[in-house]
C-alpha cells in the first residue's frame, strides 16, 4: 500500500472524540453555531489587544508573535491542500513562500515602485504560476520521490536568489513598503481612523490601558497588530475559499486521488490535472503569506527561506492533522507560537520540538485534530475488525 493515510487507531483519541462529540452537539444547533463562530472570530481579532495572562509572550512583542502565528496558520492551511487533500508530500514549500516575498520585494521597491496592494495579487499569481511550472514535471514522479524533488526545488529557489544580483543576492531586499495607512497620519499622534486601547492585567480589576493604543489602521514598524488584523482577514478568506473548493467536485477528486490514484483515474478523474491544481493552489497561498511576510518585515533575504522552514511547515500540517483545515491552522499556530512563548528555553526549543514530533508520530500519528472522516473511518474499521475477527481479503 502506497497510501499515506492508513492510521492505526490510537487509544489517546478517545478523550478527544468525547470532547468533539460534545462540541459537535453544541454546533448542531444553528443559532448557537452562528453565535459561537461570531464570538470566536471577534476573539481572534481581539487576541493581541487582550494581553491575556499565560498566553502572552514575555520579552517578545506579542503582536509580532501573533502575526507570525497567523502567518504560519495561513501557510499550514495552504500546505494542507497539497499534503492533506491531495496527499502530495511537498518538502519544498518554503520556495513558494520565498517567491511570494520576493515578487513583492521586487515590485514594490527593488526594481519597481508599485504600491503593496497592487503587488499582492501579482505576487499570488506569480507564485501560482511557479507552482504550475514546478509541478508539471515533478508531479509525475511517484510519491516518495516527490518529497525529495520538491526538497531540491525549494533549495534551488533559495540558491538562485543567493546567486542572482537582480534578486538582491545574499544581501536581500530592504525597504519593502507597508500597506497604505487608513485615516489621518499626523506625526506624534499615533494616527489612524481611531485608536484601540489594549487591556492590562497588571492590577485587579483589570483595566483598560489608555496609555497603550493601537491605531486603526496604521501599518508601521512599531505596532504589528494592524498587520495581524490584515493577515487574519486573509486567513479567513482563504479558509472560506478552502471550504467552498473542498466541498465540490474538486475536493472529491482530490480525496479519491489520494485514496487510490489508479481507481480514481479509472473512474474518469484526470488525477494529474487535479494534483497540479492542488499544487498551484497551495503555492498561491504560500505566495500570499510570503507577500505578507515581506511587507510586515520590510526586509527579506535568502537566509530566511531555509529548507528547515519547509520541514517546520510540513510538521505544522501533520501535527495539527493533515486533511483538516482547522487542525492544520492550529498546527501552524503551535509551531510558530511555542518557541516564542518559551523563549527562556530558546536554546533547547528545536531539540524539544524534535522530541515532540517523534512522540506525536508514535502516539498520535493522525495529528491533534484529524479530519472527521479519518476518525469515522478509523472507528468503522476497528468495529468491522472486531466483528469479523479477521479482514475479508480476496
Amino acid at each position: 500500500m502506497n497510501r499515506y493515510y492508513d492510521f492505526a487507531p490510537s487509544g489517546l483519541s478517545r478523550g478527544w472524540s468525547a470532547f468533539r462529540g460534545w462540541l459537535g452537539g453544541l454546533l448542531d444547533n444553528k443559532p448557537t453555531r452562528v453565535a459561537l463562530i461570531a464570538v470566536g472570530i471577534v476573539f481572534v481579532y481581539a487576541l493581541p489587544l487582550l494581553n491575556l495572562p499565560v498566553i502572552t509572550t514575555s520579552g517578545v512583542d506579542f503582536g509580532g508573535v501573533m502575526f507570525d502565528a497567523a502567518a504560519y496558520a495561513l501557510i499550514a492551511v495552504g500546505l494542507n491542500i497539497v499534503i492533506g487533500y491531495a496527499g502530495l508530500l511537498d518538502l519544498g514549500y518554503v520556495g513558494f513562500y520565498a517567491i511570494g516575498a520576493y515578487t513583492t520585494g521586487i515590485l514594490t521597491t527593488y526594481h519597481f515602485h508599485w504600491p503593496f496592494l497592487l503587488a499582492l495579487p501579482v505576487a499570488i499569481a506569480v507564485t501560482m504560476l511557479s507552482g504550475l511550472i514546478l509541478g508539471a514535471p515533478t508531479l509525475r514522479v511517484r510519491g516518495d520521490y516527490l518529497a525529495i524533488v520538491t526538497l531540491g526545488f525549494g533549495e534551488i529557489i533559495r540558491l538562485v536568489i543567493v546567486n542572482t544580483h537582480w534578486l538582491g543576492a545574499a544581501q536581500g531586499i530592504d525597504n519593502i513598503p507597508a500597506p497604505p495607512n487608513i485615516g489621518p497620519n499626523a506625526p506624534g499622534q499615533g494616527g489612524g481612523l481611531f485608536q484601540v486601547p489594549h487591556l492590562s492585567w497588571g492590577t485587579f480589576p483589570n483595566i483598560i490601558d489608555v496609555g497603550h493604543k493601537t491605531p486603526f489602521l496604521k501599518f508601521g514598524p512599531i505596532d504589528a497588530i494592524p498587520f495581524y488584523w490584515m493577515i487574519v482577514t486573509a486567513f479567513f478568506i482563504v479558509i472560506i475559499a478552502d471550504i467552498l473548493v473542498k466541498n465540490s467536485r474538486v475536493g472529491r477528486a482530490w480525496e479519491a486521488t489520494r485514496e487510490d490514484e489508479d481507481a480514481a483515474e479509472l473512474m474518469g478523474v484526470p488525477t494529474f490535472k487535479f494534483k497540479l491544481l492542488a499544487f498551484a493552489l497551495g503555492a498561491a497561498v504560500g505566495g500570499l503569506s510570503g507577500a505578507f511576510y515581506a511587507t510586515r518585515n520590510g526586509f527579506i533575504s535568502p537566509a530566511t527561506f531555509l529548507l528547515l522552514l519547509s520541514e517546520l511547515f510540513v510538521a505544522a500540517v501533520i501535527v495539527g492533522g493533515a486533511g483538516n483545515r482547522w487542525g492544520a491552522a492550529f498546527g501552524g499556530v503551535l509551531v510558530a507560537y511555542l518557541p516564542d512563548r518559551f523563549r527562556s528555553f530558546s536554546d533547547w526549543r528545536m531539540l524539544v520540538f524534535g522530541l515532540a514530533l517523534m512522540a506525536l508520530a508514535i502516539w498520535r500519528p493522525q495529528g491533534i485534530f484529524p479530519p472527521r472522516r479519518t476518525r469515522r473511518a478509523l472507528a468503522a474499521e476497528a468495529q468491522i475488525e472486531e466483528l469479523e475477527g479477521e479482514a475479508v481479503d480476496v
Partner: protein, 269 residues
C-alpha cells in the same frame, strides 16, 4: 453457430488479434473477439489463462504489444485512462478499491463527476452551473445507490459498508460514469450462494437498462446463468466462443477445465 444471433447487433468493443508480451512471457496471443451492444459477455478460463490481462487491455490499463482494441470503432491505444472512461468503458475491481474515507454517496459522485466540467472557479463562486451539476450528481448518485440496493446507506463511509454492499457500491460507482460498457472483474468473489443470486439479478437489471456488460468470473454457475455469450481463454489463447450451452458442450473447454473446476484461488493478477 452463434454467429447468426450476434450478427444483427453492432459490435461495441472489438478485440482484434491482440497480443501482449511481458518480457519473454506471452500473456495474450492473437486473441480476437467482440462484445455486441446490449449483451452480457462472459470471459472465462482457468487460472493464468490471461483473463485479467485481457480485461486490463480492454480498459486501457495495458497497451497491446500488437493488435488493436477498438471501442465503438475508434482504437483505444495511446489514450489516457480517464479519457477511456469518458469514452464509455467503466469497471469494477477484483479486490474492492473504493475510496474508503468517502461516503457511499460521494464514491458514486466521483464517478458521476467524470463528465462534469465544473472547476475551481465555479466551485469558488458557487455559480448556478456548479449548483446544477452538483444537485444533478447527488440525485443521480442516490438513484444509482437505490438501483444496486444500497440506497439506505448513502451517507455511510464506504469502509463502513458490508462486504457485499461494497461490491454493489463499486458497480454503482462505475455506472455513474455513464458507460456504454460495464466491465465486472470477478464481482462474486467471496459471495455466498444467496448473494450470488442477488448479483445475477442485478447484472440482468443492469443489462435491461441498456448497458452492455463484460463479466469475468470464476463461478461457472453464475457465468452460465447470466451471460448471453462466453469467450473462453486458455494459456493466452481463445479456445472457444459461443452461447453458454455451446461452451458447456465444447470438448476443448471441458479438457481445459478438467480437474480444475474447483478453483477458488485468485492468484491471477
Amino acid at each position: 453457430m452463434s454467429e447468426e444471433t450476434t450478427d444483427t447487433r453492432r459490435a461495441l468493443l472489438e478485440v482484434d488479434d491482440v497480443t501482449i508480451k511481458f518480457g519473454g512471457l506471452t500473456a495474450l496471443d492473437g486473441v480476437t473477439f467482440d462484445i455486441k451492444e446490449g449483451e452480457i459477455l462472459g470471459l472465462i478460463g482457468p487460472n493464468g489463462a490471461g483473463k485479467t490481462t485481457c480485461f486490463n487491455v480492454m480498459t486501457g490499463v495495458y497497451q497491446a504489444t500488437s493488435g488493436q482494441v477498438r471501442f465503438a470503432g475508434s482504437p483505444l491505444a495511446k489514450m489516457q485512462r480517464h479519457q477511456i472512461t469518458k469514452l464509455g468503458i467503466a469497471r469494477t475491481f477484483q479486490n474492492i478499491r473504493l475510496f474508503k474515507t468517502m461516503t457511499a454517496l460521494e464514491n458514486v459522485m466521483v464517478g458521476a463527476d467524470a463528465h462534469s466540467k465544473v472547476g475551481v472557479l465555479n466551485a469558488l463562486f458557487r455559480t448556478p452551473r456548479h449548483r446544477r451539476t452538483e444537485s444533478a450528481a447527488i440525485e443521480e448518485a442516490r438513484e444509482l445507490l437505490k438501483f444496486v440496493g444500497v440506497g439506505g446507506r448513502a451517507d455511510e463511509l464506504a469502509a463502513n459498508l458490508s462486504y457485499g454492499d461494497q461490491r454493489r457500491l463499486e458497480i454503482a460507482r462505475a455506472l455513474a460514469t455513464k458507460p456504454k460498457l460495464l466491465c465486472l472483474d470477478e464481482p462474486a468473489a467471496g459471495f455466498n450462494p444467496a448473494e450470488k443470486q442477488r448479483l445475477m439479478e442485478l447484472i440482468r437489471k443492469v443489462r435491461d437498462r441498456g448497458y452492455t456488460v463484460l463479466l469475468i468470473e470464476h463461478d461457472m454457475r453464475l457465468v452460465m446463468g447470466v451471460t448471453d455469450r462466453i469467450v473462453v481463454l486458455e494459456f493466452g489463447r481463445k479456445i472457444a466462443e459461443g452461447t453458454p450451452a455451446e461452451v458447456r458442450e465444447n470438448p476443448a473447454v471441458i479438457a481445459a477445465y478438467l480437474g480444475v473446476e474447483e478453483d477458488d484461488d485468485d492468484a491471477a493478477s
